[in-house]
């Protein structure tokens, strides 16, 4: 059997760990955060920061993502009392992130929307240019695919983890990953004949 890299072991371990996480533990964290427990909210941040970061990265310029991650959590903190079902915290947070990303995108000047990553790449090393170029291809995919693929390929989340965090079904995540990868392979392929 081939040996596994550290990242892979982490990924599988995260998958297994996540499957055994009791949903009620999260509800308790949300409840505690509502009561003003900042440590509990910090733990929610640790759990969900990658999801929020990935959702934003799928929609807004890279340079703005980190600031917006913080904005999403601050907004969530302020609105936490309006969350009716503590079990749906992830889906609720994802909705806040998507809304904030859309608002941010609308506020960008048109030239920033179209050229920001391209101009950024001019001053970067080859590896960074390659990464930016691949990211742009991923971001050119339909919403559902690009978000799920970024959570998987950039943030290193497993399929089960993406499903649990975002509130999507396993089936939806699986199909988004599968179809998104098909499209991504086709777009990255230098030979159109290899397209699916």
């Amino acid at each position: 059997m081939a040996s596994m890299s550290g990242d892979r072991v982490d990924l599988i371990a995260a998958s297994l760990r996540h499957q055994s996480e009791p949903a009620s533990e999260e509800a308790m964290l949300v409840e505690a955060a509502r009561e003003g427990d900042r440590a509990a909210f910090g733990r929610l941040y640790d759990r969900y920061a990658r999801m929020v970061h990935g959702i934003l990265l799928a929609r807004v310029p890279v340079r703005d993502v980190d600031d917006l991650v913080q904005d999403v959590f601050v907004m969530a903190l302020r609105r936490l009392s309006t969350l009716r079902d503590t079990r749906s915290f992830g889906a609720w947070l994802a909705a806040i992130a998507r809304n904030l990303a859309n608002d941010h995108y609308r506020r960008l000047a048109p030239e920033d929307q179209l050229t920001e990553e391209a101009s950024d790449t001019d001053n970067k090393a080859d590896g960074e240019n390659d990464a930016a170029a691949v990211l742009e291809v991923v971001r050119s995919l339909p919403d559902a695919y690009r978000e799920t693929l970024i959570l998987r390929l950039v943030e290193g989340m497993t399929g089960p983890e993406i499903a649990a965090r975002t509130g999507l079904t396993h089936g939806s995540v699986r199909v988004n990953l599968h179809r998104g990868m098909q499209l991504l392979r086709a777009k990255l392929s230098p030979n159109p004949e290899t397209e699916p």
Binding site: A2, I12, F41, V74, A144, S172
Partner: protein
């Protein structure tokens, strides 16, 4: 063949949860894109004001609290009544001309409208429209089209295409999005396809990405990317074929599916199809196994076995008696897609939606 299926499964597992045989391209993408990964520690968040302060119940406040509850309850109920009700449906935007939802025109620059359950969208010869639903996909509606939204919600999403052309790009899970036409039910199993229905109810589906299932009266056709399939009212789906097959092959197949009236005509056209078939046309021959008369099945088997030898576990006797697991095993060997996706969703339908579909 088993090794191939196993490889497909393990690649799928790697994408799903990092287990199984690593896919080199996915690993490369993980490496390249990993530099964008979130790596910042939690910031210091502002002090929270608890949403619910614990308070002692002082009797004198109890009556006031109860009264407040009554007032707030009334206000909430009132607010709920006056709040707009979310309507399940697709958003509709005009792309050209003046598409209509019912009697209402959807202007090109007027922003998105709504196609609700039971409503009809029509485009004239100068109009085009686009339907979008975040959890389902996007449908471009070409000129001269009439379609109806039959259902939305968490289960099956259905529209009926009465006539015209739609280009569908679907990302809901396989089997959830269905288009009824006068001559077949189209089931999305993949990504992108074009469906045309003429005024007589004749239809054709062309798949550009993924694959699509056609179904009517027990007739099933699987149409992978690059292939097409015709349907006719009452007859249902024909046999799928690749559009780059020879004209002789395609014409004979159309006659075999829809026009031949005598056993001799069918035998003659079947002979042409078998003679003209290329390796790639195993798609067509596999479907024909279940569509020819019992006595003709052996010649289809022989030709298909020559073009795409059956895998271990598939016997001639089994195929001649249309053993389903063996047919599925052979299909998977052809390299179009794993038929278990279809079987899974077909099974799901059988329990939940077949009655609703009336098929």
């Amino acid at each position: 063949m088993e090794m191939k299926n196993e490889a497909q499964a393990t690649i799928g597992d790697y994408l799903w949860n990092g287990s199984g045989e690593p896919d080199p391209e996915i690993q490369r993408l993980e490496g390249v894109l990993g530099q964008f990964r979130h790596d910042r520690p939690a910031p210091v968040f502002p002090e929270l004001v608890p949403s619910r302060r614990r308070m002692r119940w002082i009797p004198v406040f109890a009556a006031a609290a109860a009264a407040a509850v009554v007032v707030v309850t009334f206000l909430i109920a009132h607010e709920k009544k006056s709040a707009p009700v979310a309507v399940a449906g697709w958003s509709v935007s005009g792309v050209a001309g003046a598409p209509r939802v019912g009697n209402k025109t959807v202007g090109v620059n007027a922003g998105a409208g709504r196609l609700g359950v039971g409503q009809v969208l029509e485009t004239d010869q100068q109009s085009r429209a686009r339907l979008q639903a975040e959890q389902i996909g996007q449908i471009d509606v070409e000129p001269g089209t009439r379609l109806r939204l039959l259902s939305m919600g968490t289960g099956l999403k259905r529209i009926a295409l009465d006539r015209g052309t739609i280009d569908a790009f679907i990302w809901s899970p396989p089997g959830e999005f269905v288009v009824d036409t006068p001559s077949a039910m189209t089931v999305d199993l993949g990504c992108a396809y074009t469906l045309q229905v003429d005024d007589a109810g004749d239809g054709v589906v062309r798949t550009s990405l993924g694959w699509v299932g056609f179904k009517l009266n027990g007739h099933e056709s699987f149409i992978p990317a690059g292939a097409a399939c015709k349907t006719r009212p009452k007859t249902g789906p024909g046999t799928p074929y690749f559009e780059d097959a020879s004209p002789k092959f395609r014409n004979a197949l159309t006659r075999f599916d829809f026009e031949d009236n005598t056993p001799q005509q069918r035998a003659d056209d079947l002979a042409i199809v078998l003679a003209e078939a290329r390796t790639h046309d195993a798609l067509t021959l596999w479907h024909l196994l279940a569509r020819v008369e019992d006595g003709q099945r052996v010649i289809v088997y022989d030709r298909l076995a020559k073009l795409a030898p059956p895998p271990a576990g598939v016997t001639k006797a089994g195929i001649l008696r249309l053993d389903q697991p063996m047919l599925d095993l052979w299909w998977n060997q052809l390299g179009f897609d794993d038929i278990s996706i279809w079987r899974h969703w077909e099974h799901a339908w059988a329990g939940t939606s077949a009655a609703a579909l009336g098929k």
